[in-house]
Amino acid sequence: MSEHNEHAHHIVGPGVYVAILFALLIGTGLTVWASFLELGLWNPVIALAIATTKAVLVVLFFMHVKYSTKLTKLAIFSGIFMFLVLISMTLADYISRAWGSW
């Protein structure tokens, strides 16, 4: 247990925060720009991909998950995975049932 201690108080500095801030601002600009393009099916895919990239940056660096314990990482991963299971099962059911008759 004690070998975790060296990781416990990792302080993330302003340099990293500024870099992430700029990445997030660029991501926002990019996603607004992409929404003006006519990409058909790819519009939502790109918007969600950029949103997810931004969310991952926030979680890893602003929320320090990159430097947190394995227990916290596992809990977060399990929670997100469970959410994805729930949402994809629900959507699969609604999309495949009574197609076109709503």
Partner: protein, 248 residues
């Protein structure tokens, strides 16, 4: 109890910081436990907002034309501005955590105050957007008007930008569902912001008095997690509500 702690405070906390609870082995273990617990709470929040996102996706899939017409009523410029405001507030909050960790009292107060102001700015912009919906009778259940959707040319500003075709009455009816989800999702998000701003106000007062910059940063750190989580929810709301329906 008071008496006892006054007499023994010095000896009972010998060799470790006074904020270390005695059922923990070390301050690291205490901080890890608090951070883990905060994440468990945030995961329940993921499930809570997840239900709303799922409802949105299902109805969007069912009543796609109504959702497109509904989202054309949102102004991408306000949405983008709010996204920028919220991202900046997440940055100032992260800087606040760093200031607390490195024991900079003035820096912490400044960071928290900026976060507080940016949070209020976000709510201000949201109010402008809500007011427009109220004026156009686009609030579900309160004299909801289908005019913009049955006769898009009656709404010249939106028509000039999107040239929407009129919806048939049965589909136009479902724009009310879009706005129900819009107000539910952005409203729950705004409620989280209001709670966060309230806690920020409390933290600013405490930080001015010297709290959080004497080694015990758990409260600031865990509040930071909450604030960043609210930011992430908005990142998805912005993409889903404002951006993905610009083309029909």
């Amino acid at each position: 109890m008071l008496d006892r702690s006054a007499n023994t405070a010095h000896s009972a906390h010998e060799g470790h910081p006074p904020y270390l609870r005695h059922h923990f082995n070390s301050t690291e273990q205490q901080a890890d436990a608090a951070g883990f617990a905060m994440w468990l709470f945030l995961l329940t929040e993921v499930m809570f907002f997840g239900g709303l996102f799922t409802a949105y996706l299902i109805y969007r899939n069912w009543y796609y034309p109504a959702f497109v017409a509904g989202s054309h009523q949102l102004d991408v410029r306000w949405g983008t501005l709010n996204t920028l405001v919220l991202i900046c507030s997440s940055f100032t909050m992260a800087m606040g955590v760093w200031c607390a960790e490195t024991r900079r009292r003035k820096g912490l107060v400044l960071s928290l105050t900026l976060t507080f102001i940016l949070g209020l700015g976000f709510l201000g912009i949201k109010t402008v957007e809500y007011r427009e919906k109220i004026e156009k009778h686009h609030v579900p259940g309160f004299h909801y008007s289908l005019k913009s959707f049955l006769d898009p040319q009656s709404d010249p500003e939106i028509y000039a930008e999107y040239h929407d075709k009129p919806l048939v009455p049965d589909m136009a009816r479902h724009t009310e569902l879009y706005f129900s989800l819009y107000f539910l999702m952005t409203g729950m998000h705004a409620l989280h912001m209001i709670i966060g701003i309230g806690i920020l106000g409390f933290m600013i007062l405490r930080a001015k008095a010297g709290a959080y910059t004497a080694g015990h940063v758990t409260f600031v750190e865990n509040f930071g997690l909450y604030w960043h989580f609210v930011d992430i929810i908005w990142i998805y709301l912005f993409a889903l509500l404002y951006l993905i329906s610009r083309h029909q």
